[in-house]
């Protein structure tokens, strides 16, 4: 056994038990979903949407190391794509599967639009500019009454149907979201492990040294912004279809911050961490429903606690999906 292996092979037994437990709970939850009351299915659906958003934003924040606080803009682009193309607003009634690629392309284009002016920025400056970008998109939506309905939003969106199957009940959206999250999760994870993913990591670690080994950082960063925005936009389209109503209120800075928190608490740069972070931030308020006034306080205390005991997040970067699979099924 090499030095490296000895160092990384810490406590395999307790780790394995925890992995199995979490894995079993996840499977049980998925299996039980069709039998849960609608209320709980809705909670799980919103959890899945946040996981999807987290997977998207993590590309920019976790992999490439760029603090983007305007992610909610892409979510809004996707949601309004569905709202405008499938509602009485413009009297357009496109099928869901036709809107999805449009939303994805618009999302990618918006991502590049945001990416170009912030290419030179890093850290705090980048955070402030992207935050402004998110607000600009929201304010535009708020003021473009003739198109977006302004603060009133757009109501009576069409019921979605996919290949003739209606997707209307919470449980339908559960399956749609579960599949989307799994597909997006696998693709993004493979992207992280691809050569582009390695380049993102290099940019995160030392942008100038990354240029020094031949990485066109402009292209690599724009690719990160575009893929991230595409996923955000797809999440938005599904969100709009499930709510059948959109308004600017759903796309405030608070949402962006929530997604960033999920990533940071869960484990930055790790898809498994996002699942953990989303679960905590989404389910905690439900569990603490009776103590509604205290929720924010609990959340604050939890965050302080986690930052002290697990500064790298609940699931650190080094414990990725490949490690989990190996631990569950490998030797």
């Amino acid at each position: 056994m090499s030095v490296a292996e000895t160092l990384t092979a810490a406590k395999p037994h307790s780790g394995r038990a925890i992995s199995f437990l979490v894995f079993a709970i996840a499977i049980a939850l998925i299996a039980a979903s069709p039998f849960l009351p609608n209320y709980y299915v809705r909670v799980i659906n919103s959890l899945l949407i946040y996981i999807l958003l987290g997977i998207g934003l993590n590309i920019v924040i976790g992999y490439t190391g760029l603090l983007d606080l305007g992610f909610v803009a892409f979510y809004a682009v996707g949601a309004y794509s569905y709202a405008l193309l499938a509602s009485p607003q413009l009297d357009l009634h496109w099928p869901f599967l036709a809107i999805l690629p449009v939303a994805a392309c618009l999302g990618a284009a918006t991502g590049i639009l945001l990416g170009i002016p912030v290419l030179r920025l890093r850290g705090d400056y980048l955070a402030i500019v992207t935050l402004g970008f998110g607000e600009i998109i929201r304010i535009i939506i708020n003021n473009l009454d003739w198109l977006t309905g302004g603060p009133k939003g757009i109501a009576r969106l069409d019921k979605a149907s996919i290949l003739g199957i209606q997707v209307a009940r919470p449980i339908d959206f559960f399956w749609l979201l579960l599949i989307t999250v799994l597909v997006a999760g696998v693709l993004v994870w493979r992207l992280e492990r691809s050569i582009l993913g390695k380049a993102w990591a290099a940019i995160r670690e030392d942008q100038d040294a990354a240029r020094g080994i031949g990485i066109n950082t402009t292209n690599a960063k724009l690719a990160a912004f575009a893929t991230s925005a595409t996923i955000g936009s797809i999440a938005g389209a599904i969100f709009a279809a499930s709510q059948r109503f959109v308004s600017p209120e759903s796309f405030t800075l608070q949402e962006s911050v929530l997604i960033v928190l999920m990533i940071v608490i869960g484990g930055i740069g790790n898809i498994l961490g996002i699942v953990a972070g989303a679960a905590i931030l989404m389910l905690l308020p439900e569990v603490l429903r009776e103590f509604a006034e205290w929720r924010i306080l609990f959340l604050g205390l939890l965050m302080i606690f986690l930052i002290i005991v697990r500064p790298a997040g609940i699931v650190p970067r080094s414990f990725g999906p490949d490690k989990l699979i190996r631990r569950l099924f490998g030797k």
Binding site: V3, S194, A201, R211, G212
Partner: protein, 276 residues
């Protein structure tokens, strides 16, 4: 194939760091670039690699201008470098630090890597084979899965050189590769660099360790105040009174130059230890 500097100049405001330097570097040789602190050695390396812009004059490789290209384009012309202060991708593994160097060659296949796992494994396997070869050459194979940032200082230096070599550069620029290394490590480094003296590569080594420079280099360029002071074989440099004057004011033998180099190495050793 040669690397040519033509009336190359670099000014920081009023400070002239490089003062109209004209010279050329032949392939297949290891060129030593020496001179007192502040002579402009790092500036020359940084301009060649595209880290700094050129104030006037030109740099050309094979007749193709380098100074008009962006840094990543220069790297893609197979010019590789190390830094005076080590710059690795700390939170990536040793293997990933090398693997990522294949980005320019492999980025076109990214989407195929994402959707077609067999293609991805084949590409990765191919990249990793080359990386493991160079890791073995630097005796780092046991660290492949360790984060680069947690390597001991001497190994980090080796890894940085390995990263510069993994894509077989035409121009290899090393800025003080032996800084902070102990005697044993310096000897190993000297042997490894000597083994990398291949016919179609121009290697330029900036170094204060005169032992290493005299043993390793075929051609030595001495800089002083941004100008070329002397150029010749190790024996010629040792015999040159100009060089001794530049280094030590009134020194009269190479032993004193060595002593000065030793002092500096000790200094850097302390700095290195503080860093880690």
């Amino acid at each position: 194939m040669t690397l040519v500097f033509d009336k190359l100049r670099k000014q920081y405001g009023q400070v002239v760091a490089i003062d109209d330097v004209t010279t050329s570097f032949a392939p297949g040789l290891i060129h030593g670039l020496i001179g007192p602190n502040g002579a402009g050695k790092s500036t020359l390396i940084n301009m060649t690699a595209g880290s700094y812009s050129v104030s006037s004059g030109s740099i050309a490789l094979d007749g193709k201008r380098l100074d008009t290209l962006k840094k990543y384009q220069i790297a893609n012309s197979r010019v590789a470098r190390t830094y005076q202060n080590i710059r690795l991708f700390d939170q990536m593994t040793v293997l990933e630090n090398l693997e990522v160097c294949f980005y320019p060659a492999d980025v076109g296949g990214t989407w195929k890597e994402v959707v077609w796992p067999p293609y991805a494994s084949a590409r990765r396997e191919k990249r990793r084979e080359k990386c493991m070869d160079i890791l073995r050459f630097f005796d780092l194979q046991g660290y492949a899965e360790t984060d680069a940032g947690s390597l001991p200082y001497g190994r980090q230096r080796m890894l940085e050189i390995a990263r510069a070599l993994v894509c077989e550069p035409r121009v290899l620029l090393l800025d003080e590769p032996a800084a902070g290394l102990n005697h044993h490590e310096t000897a190993e480094l000297t042997a490894r660099l000597a083994a990398q003296r291949v016919p179609d590569r121009i290697t330029i080594v900036v170094e204060h360790d005169m032992d290493l420079v005299m043993k390793l280099c075929d051609n030595i360029i001495v800089m002083h105040h941004g100008k070329l002071l002397f150029q010749g074989t190790p024996a010629e440099v040792q015999a040159s009174p100009d060089v001794q004057l530049a280094y030590l004011g009134t020194a009269n033998d190479i032993d004193e130059i060595r002593a000065a180099a030793q002092d500096r190495r000790a200094q850097l050793g302390i700095r290195a230890r503080r860093r880690s």
